[in-house]
């Protein structure tokens, strides 16, 4: 590996950093208003069109939601200025770890191993009587 190659790579990385700075300055991501129930329904219907939603719990920061659809839990969580969805067994969702006010859900999927939602502490219990 010659010196010229290494210099070219370093210059490329410097340009990447420069573009990052430009993106930070430009502030042109999508708007991310707090999710409401209608928006959650709309987005979950895109990804799980055949899943009827029994109940929706919005994250208190408006950056996600969890819905129950029979034996399944459907999750929607914000990533940058976009959203990602996953499903997991409802019984697994109830075992989410509560760490510093956020519930951590695991998906057994290398493409999205886990996600966290800032849900009210009694999110499932309040409605279903099930304990978390």
């Amino acid at each position: 590996m010659d010196q010229k190659y290494i210099i070219t790579q370093l210059v490329t990385l410097a340009i990447v950093a420069g573009i990052m700075g430009l993106v930070a300055w430009a502030k042109i991501p999508r708007a991310t208003p707090a999710l409401d129930e209608a928006e959650v329904k709309h987005r979950l219907a895109e990804d799980f069109p055949q899943a009827p939603l029994d109940q929706i719990w919005l994250a208190i920061d408006g950056a996600g939601a969890i819905a129950r659809s029979g034996d399944e839990a459907l999750l929607l969580f914000r990533l940058g200025d976009s959203y990602v969805s996953r499903s997991l067994a409802w019984s697994h969702a109830l075992q989410a770890d509560l760490i510093k006010g956020r519930y951590w859900f695991k998906f057994n999927d290398f493409a999205a191993p886990k996600a966290s939602l800032a849900l009210a502490p009694d999110w499932a219990q309040a409605v279903t009587g099930e304990t978390i």
Binding site: Q9, T12, L13, I15, V16, I19, M20, L22, V23, A24, W25, A26, K27, I28, P29, R30, A31, E39, H42, E46, P49, Q50, F77, L79, G80, D81, S82, V84, S85, R86, F107, D109, F110, A111, A112, P113, K114, A115
Partner: protein, 313 residues
Amino acid sequence: MAAPSAPAIDPVTLAVPFFILAIVLEIILARFGKVKAVYEAKDTATSLLMGFGSGIAGLLTGGVVFAASVWVYKYHLFDIPMSAAWAWLAIFLLEDLTYYWFHRLSHERRFWWAAHVNHHTSQHYNLATALRQTWTGGTAGTWALWLPLSLLGFPPAMIAIQKGISLVYQFWIHTEAVRRMPVWFEALFNTPSHHRVHHARNPRYLDSNYAGILIIWDRMFGTFVAELDEEPCRYGVVKNLGDFNIVRVAFHEWVGIFSDLLTARSLREAFFYLFGAPGWSPDGSRQTSTMLKAQWADMQTAEPVKTDPAAAS
């Protein structure tokens, strides 16, 4: 016969300053509301670093790929001169046709999808997305699809240059800044509109518009889908990634294949996990794009088309 040599010019290297300038312009023009473009910081970083890593990965496998092309050329059937205009027209068409089938294979069969999926993992569609390139394309072996061109008698350098031209062409179409090109251009060439559809995860748009430079192949082989203003493209993959980690972007589908193979109960299952359609599963518990499209079509007939402008947000 003179020994075939590496191409004297590499269109991709020559175009890099233009790529950078175009990205900078797109961001600045969007900042001042002159064009439509959406950039998210971490998403952009991921795209650019994937491009950077792809350059390094390409360097490692590029030598082998070019050597294979040179080796096959030893047995070439016809003498095709690099100096003839007709030869450039022929390589333009044949390389573009090869690209179409490479790209179609890269979407329809999981082993090659694993190498290509990273290009589709951004939920954004801007010029930086164009640089979100594969790290594992050389390993996946799809470059072998170009070997018949060497066997025909196209000099390896000529093929390499045309492949570069195609890659450079495909850069500029990764933008929302251009709505539609003139009708004749949209009919003949791959455009921002056609390629937006290719990057969309809406069921209506899945598995379409595989073109490199010419869109005519999609029209010929039945994979063309036009962009509809009433159905804005939602970018990304069917199951979007959970974070911006570039290792995940580069390797997630390979890991998925590997863990599925560990659970395979027969050779048949192993075969389909490797070479079936992405989303194939023995019990049908996952969905392939064909299944997603069929489900969507069923729902369209069950209820009238409902389009929501909010879907574009």
